[in-house]
């Protein structure tokens, strides 16, 4: 499998017939039939999405990587748990959200300070390279940190839906399945979360 999953091979999209691009559901079906190249393709499609989602949730880059990897490991070891009654994205986001929440709960009970957070070393952190002006980049970084801090202040059930809706841009229906609450409750939580964020970010006008 290591030969198959080389650094170069994972960059290529899976186009078995060269004309077709498989949907996520088709890929998971192929993976369930032991096509490991399908797994690689799913990893390629979802690793950044999962990283983005989990990072906004836990606000710790290294921890986010661990959680994202754990989610993809669960995809590998529990591939047969997926049934084609829901979207694949719903399933994988549900796993990631549950792992992220568990980690946050453990963090609360542990009360340990992560040394990497105290470190002044620069970590690998890929950002879009659009930085026209030094002042603007400082200001935008400040705004980003304020927004991230405001999201962190939201209660977990508000935070999840806000990230899934306003950052991951999922539909209300999908969010409802991921967090397993009725559609009306999802909309209500998003509404309340937005009002709470407005209070936190009042001075950013």
């Amino acid at each position: 499998m290591m030969n198959q999953l080389s650094q170069n091979s994972y960059m290529r999209p899976l186009t078995m017939d060269k004309q077709l691009v498989y949907t996520d559901e088709e890929l998971i079906k192929r993976f369930q039939d032991d096509d490991e190249q399908a797994y690689v393709e799913l990893v390629n499609r979802y690793r950044d999405r999962l990283m983005n989602f989990v990072y906004r949730f836990v606000n710790d880059y290294e921890q986010s990587e661990d959680i994202a990897q754990e989610t993809l490991i669960k995809l590998y070891t529990h591939k047969h748990y997926y049934k084609n009654i829901a979207k694949f994205s719903t399933w994988i986001y549900t796993i990631a959200a549950n792992l992220a929440k568990s980690e946050l709960r453990k963090k609360k009970t542990r009360k340990v300070t992560n040394l990497s957070q105290m470190s002044t070393e620069e970590r690998e952190y890929e950002l879009p390279a659009v930085q026209p002006d030094t002042d603007q980049s400082i200001e935008s970084e400040f705004i980003q940190k304020r927004i991230q801090a405001a999201i962190q202040k939201l209660p977990l059930h508000f935070r999840t839906v806000t990230i899934l809706r306003d950052i991951q841009e999922l539909s209300y229906e999908e969010i409802s399945k991921i967090v397993d609450v009725p559609l009306g409750t999802v909309k209500s939580r998003i509404n309340r979360a937005r009002i709470q964020l407005q209070k936190e970010l009042k001075d950013l006008r």
């Binding site: 690793r47 990283m51 906004r56 994202a68 952190y125 890929e126 509404n191």
Partner: protein, 182 residues
């Protein structure tokens, strides 16, 4: 429209999910209430800022670490259940078997004791030396009841009073009247 209904309707308004009437009500409300309009503008502004947050990407070492973990999972030895030969007595551990045995023996002993007591109770009537001329129909050799005799079942129902003949009991000389004591 009141403040609560307005706040509840903000996201629906932004997502264009209100009916025409509700939308009109909403817009009328924000026209009349500048703070409500300001709240709506702030929320829309924040949504734009959140959407514009840079996408966090995985590091370049993400894939290699993931592959290592996947290989480890693949090669992980399966957990084998080793059935150790156990010292059991009909499937029970020695301690459990002992406790159960003691309990069973105790129950049997107590049960037998209680049952025996129940069976022996008729022999323990208080002593009675008088002669009672009872129902002459009772099938007893001398109509005397004493401690040594065991009750025997009779064919006659002693509760049946239809054939009972009243017999006069002669108490002359047997009853001493006690004088009134002043």
């Amino acid at each position: 429209m009141d403040r609560y209904k307005f706040e509840d309707s903000i996201s629906a308004y932004i997502d264009n999910e209100l009916t025409l009437t509700e939308r009109q009500e909403f817009e009328d409300y924000i026209e009349k209430n500048p703070d409500a309009k300001s709240l709506l503008e702030d929320i829309v502004n924040n949504m734009g800022l959140i959407k514009g947050l840079p996408k966090v990407k995985a590091s370049s070492s993400f894939m290699s670490k993931l592959l290592e973990k996947v290989e480890f999972e693949k090669n992980k030895p399966s957990v084998k259940v080793i059935n150790k030969p156990s010292n059991t007595f009909f499937g029970f551990t020695p301690l459990y078997a002992s406790i159960m045995s003691v309990l069973i023996v105790s129950f049997i002993t107590v049960g037998y004791t209680l049952w025996s007591e129940n069976m022996n109770r008729p022999n323990q009537l208080p002593n009675f030396n008088g002669n009672i001329t009872a129902n002459p129909n009772i099938d007893s050799p001398n109509n005397n009841i004493n401690n040594d005799q065991k009750f025997v079942s009779t064919t006659i129902d002693s509760a049946d009073t239809t054939n009972n003949k009243r017999t006069k009991v002669n108490l002359d000389g047997k009853v001493n009247f006690v004088k009134k004591q002043r």
